[in-house]
Structure formats: C-alpha cells, structure tokens
Symmetry: C2
Subunit: 350 residues, 2 copies
C-alpha cells in the first residue's frame, strides 16, 4: 500500500482525481428508479405494522416524501463497489512505486470477500501478482471466484491474529505490498467515486425529464451501508465542499450510514453517538459484508470531521424484507449488505 | 384498438414517432455489458461440450468474436418491454378516439402475462378503466399483480375459444376497446422503441470510450426472443432504412429471432424456413412468454418483407444455463423468455 504520508488529502477534489485514474478500468454503473418502492417509502406505516417494533404506539407515524435513486454497484466489475478502491490503490502504487517493482513483488491482502476478488482483478489487469490470504474455512465458491481472477491463495486460521501472521509471512517471502480492504486513504477515495457518478447521473436524469433543480426534486441525501466505513467515508468526502455552481450538485447532500443492528453489528452507530470508536465486532448478521468494525481513517471522516449526518440501524427481518422487494420489484440480485440502507429508509421511523 | 386502417405505416420513422409519444411514460432502461459473458461467447466450445448436442463431431467449432450489449427491459415499468406497446396503443387510441370516450368504455385484453399488467398500468395512468380476461387457472401472484395495477378482472376458461367469448361479452357490456398483445401495428411500433434506444446507447458508450465507429466495434446485430413476434418485428422495423449519416447507426444491423425448440415452440423458425406461417403452438417450454404462434402482422415484417435475417432455436437446458449465468454473473433477475437470445448466442453453433 502507498505510505499514508504520500496519499492525497481526504477531500472531494481527491475523489475527483481518483475517478480520473480509475475510469478506464471500472463501469459507470446504472442508476435505477422504482415507483413501487418510492410509494412504499412515502406511505406512513400503520399502527399494526409498527407493532412489535421499537416504534410501537407511535402517535403519528413518519410521513416522508421519498424518491429513490439506486446506484447499482452490483453491476460493477466483480459485482461490487470494492473494484473502485482496489483499482485506485493499484494505480496509486504504480505512481509511487513504479509498475516494474510491483510486477516483481505483487500485492497482498487478507480477505475472503469482495475485496479479495477486486484486488485480484486489478492486479491481473496490470500484470501484477496478487496474493490473497483466506481462512481455510472460506466457502469454496469464494475461493474459486478469487482463483478465477488469477490470485495466489494462501490459507490461514480464521482469527485476525492468524490471518495477519500469515500475511506478514507472505510479505517477507515475496515483497508484496499490502492493500487493506477499507482502512486506507486510497481505498476510501476510490470508493467515493460511486457517489460522484450518482450526483451527475441524478442531475442528468432530472434535466432530461424537464424537472428544474430549483425545486426540492434533487438528490438531497445519500444513505450507504457501513461495515469498515470505506464506502461511507468516501461518499461523505464526495458530498463535502460542494459548489452550488456545479450543475451536478445544486444543493447540499446529507450523508447517512446504515448498519445491521443484530448482536452488535451497529458498532458505527454506537460509536458515533457515544463519541468513542468501537474496535471489535462479533456479529453473525446476514449482512456479512458489514460485520467489520469502523476503521481509523473512516472514523476520522465520519465522526471527527462530522461529514456524516447520522447513523441508523435495522434488524435482520427488515433486511430480509428489503432484499425480497429488491429481487421481486427491481429484478436485481444483490447481497444482504447492499439493502441495509433501503431497509432503514423503508422500515426505520427516524 | 385503433382500426388498423388508421395506423401509421410499418417503418422506422413510425417507430421514432412512437418513441416520442411514449417517452413520458416509460423508462429508458440501462444497457449492461459483461466481460465474462463476452469471453464465454468468444471461446470455441470443446468437442466434449458439443457431445450430445446436434453439433457433436463438428471438426472446427465456431470461433466468433462477440461483444454483448444487454438491453435490460426487465427494469422497464411492470418489469417487461410490454409496457412500450401498451402505452403506445393507449396513446394512439387517445389520438383516434379521444380520451373522453375511452374513459367511459375502457380497454380490454385477454392475457395472463406481462401484457395484462402493462395495459392495466397504461390505462390507470390515463384514468381509463382496464378489463382483463384471465383464465380461472392463472397463478394467484399474476392475478394479484394485475389487480394491483387497478384492473377489473373477468375469469374465463383456459382455451382460446373460451377466452375470446368472454372478451366479446366484456366488449358488448362495456364498450371497451380491444388491445391485443402483439398482433397489431401500434403494439409492434411501441415494442420497436427498445431497439432505437439500444442503437443510441451503444453508439454513445462507444464514443465515450473513444472507440471509433469506423472499426467493426459497433452494434452489428440484435437478437431478440420471439413468441408472438411483436418485439422481433418492431426491432426489425427499428433497424430498417438506416441512414449512415445518423451517428447512432453507423452501419447495417442484422436482426435475428430466438425461440425455444421444446415441443414445437420454434414455430417462427419452422415457418420462416418453410415459407408458411404456423398458426398453432402447444408447447410447455419454460420460456412461457414464447409459447404463442407468430402473428399475422409480425409475419409480414419478419418473413414477407425479409427484415429478419434468420431464426434460431435452443433447448430447455441451454435456456436454464443462460438463466443461471445472467443471475450469477450479471446479478439480474429475468424470466426464462428473456435469455433465449443469449442462449442462442452462447450455445448455438450457427
């Protein structure tokens, strides 16, 4: 990984620069809208629907007017936004270390999920070896997918101590550069590029449909799922320092984070409202991409710089309901982690 | 339905006019690309893979270079391209009959599928009553979905004679205008608008990516599924009379039809190569949207005017394989009918 001292400042301008660097490698994913889900989100919930939830007995259920734009990063390369951060990290390493050195030593990460596939793909497209440390107990399809992108897999035990020890061994043996999954400026800046595209795409669709942006019909808020916080903090940077003269950002955009509440996976929310970052999470929520605690860099953006306006959480049943709606009404295949933001918007009373 | 004698000529210009009419009501659906599927389609199949197929023992398996653009009409309103034809038919009826008369009598169709939902939606958005004749044995979710769009449902027996008799009764009682699912010029012109968008979207994406259209990297062919032939014949019109000076159509575009071969559902292909339209089909292919025989108007465009360059068919196993690829690799939920074209491109040796 590029030494953090050489990384660009954590600003919207750096997210724009990251976008220029990775554009040749990534998809500009489509933005979908859905009238049924807009109506559902804009209909107050009945007292019966609130029974058994924490909002049971609310006198006046929330009555928001919501219009959704869904940024479909499930159509991104490798099937997730993680491709953005990985390609950006590799581009930055090419700038600071030179491609030739990287081709010898390669890159390394410990991950069993989307970041492993994203880094493997970014490395392969640059002719760089990728070393992935995965727990022996990883699901065979994930191992196969990562191998499919040409990575060298080294197995480890499943605790973080065991994984880090094996990663250190790989680095000593190969000279590979570590590319962590979220807690690094280059990763955060890469993930933030999705929000830039969303800003432009929403503005373009509203101008085509003849809606004036002087009304309230514009992108007022973005809600993103939050695990380690790479996507959330990158999104927050992309929505900071907005210029009202830029047609893609005619007004301020609030950024919110969404987490599963199951058995403590809402570490970001609890930390945000208590003022102390929570460093360990042990939750088996179905939103398996969001089981990680918030990283140090994300925390500095989300909490210390207050670039995130609020953190919300939802239960497992709400996540499953949102997943089903996305599948049936939007015809889109997503993982549970991807719908946590929608679940908050649909089923949270805040 | 508008009297066919008053309908526009079956030309590309009329498809363009249809597009202007329905644009306020429909989505411009996204176009997806997928490197994995391009590679799969561009890799010759091994002798082992051809074993047990009709191409077993082929000396030199086909070795095409294919780049796919997927027009995602599953993201269209009601989840299918049928919204295009239904909105166009209703707009045309408004022009020829006037909205007030339509609001009294309404519109009627007999269908249990996507056309029923599409017509119900188009009617509701214009304040027009929709009468839908459905077989009593229709699956409850389809009945519920059609009711959800505000239609009045009348049940009938399941043979086409029974359905048509009940439809005539509805017309006599209400004065509703019949909007057939595919065999009418207004429907065909509406469905053809998807291909217009595809032409422009592909040209725009190639020009953004810096690819010159003087090379062969352009939209050379469109393959569409074929049931009653509304989409296929509309697509063929949209690809006829192309002007090389139009940047969205830098060269000719061949149009092909794709059908399931199971128990005679390939009526279009058999008719096309024998010169006689086949009028009845009794197939229970899983591609249930493609069980209908080719209509008279579609036949005149596809066969008599030779605007379709070829018809292909694939088996049930190939359709299931394509469905799985689209689900797993493209993250998109589609019905079996939607992947028959892809199955032909991937698994047909022609």
């Amino acid at each position: 990984m590029a030494d953090p001292s050489t990384t660009p400042p954590l600003t919207r301008a750096s997210v724009l620069a990251a976008h220029s660097l990775i554009k040749p490698y990534i998809h500009e994913t489509p933005v979908l809208t859905n009238t049924t889900l807009d109506q559902l989100a804009s209909t107050p919930r009945t007292p019966e629907e609130l029974q058994g939830t924490e909002w049971e007995g609310t006198e006046r259920p929330a009555n928001p007017k919501i219009r959704f734009w869904f940024k479909c990063e499930n159509f991104q390369r490798i099937g997730a936004f993680k491709a953005r951060g990985a390609f950006h990290a590799v581009e930055r390493l090419k700038q600071t270390e030179g491609l030739e050195g990287l081709k010898k030593g390669g890159v390394v990460t410990h991950s069993s999920g989307n970041h492993a596939q994203a880094l493997s793909l970014a490395a392969r497209e640059n002719g760089i070896p990728a070393h992935i440390v995965m727990p022996t107990i990883s699901p065979p399809p994930k191992i196969a997918a990562t191998k499919g992108y040409g990575a060298n897999i080294t197995f480890s035990g499943s605790t973080s101590t065991e994984r880090e020890a094996v990663t250190r061994e790989v680095i000593e043996k190969t000279g590979a550069r570590l590319v962590p999954p979220y807690d690094h400026p280059d990763i955060i800046l890469g993930q933030g590029t999705a929000a830039l595209e969303l800003q432009r795409q929403v503005a373009a669709s509203l101008s085509t449909s003849g809606t004036t942006t002087t009304t309230n019909r514009r992108l007022n808020a973005i809600i993103t799922p939050c695990g380690g916080g790479g996507l959330l903090s990158g999104t927050a940077l992309a929505c900071s320092d907005l210029s009202p003269s830029d047609p893609s950002t005619p007004g301020p955009i609030l950024v919110f984070g969404a987490e599963p509440s199951f058995s403590g996976a809402d570490d970001g929310r609890r930390g945000y409202y208590s003022g102390t970052r929570i460093e360990t999470v042990k939750s088996l929520t179905i939103a398996d991409g969001l089981r990680t605690p918030l990283g140090v860099y994300p925390w500095s953006i989300i909490y210390e710089r207050k670039l995130v306006a609020g953190m919300y959480s939802v239960g497992e049943e709400e996540i499953k309901k949102a997943l089903r709606l996305v599948y049936e009404r939007m015809k889109v295949v997503v993982e549970p982690s991807a719908v946590v933001g929608l679940a908050v918007a649909l089923f949270g009373e805040e």
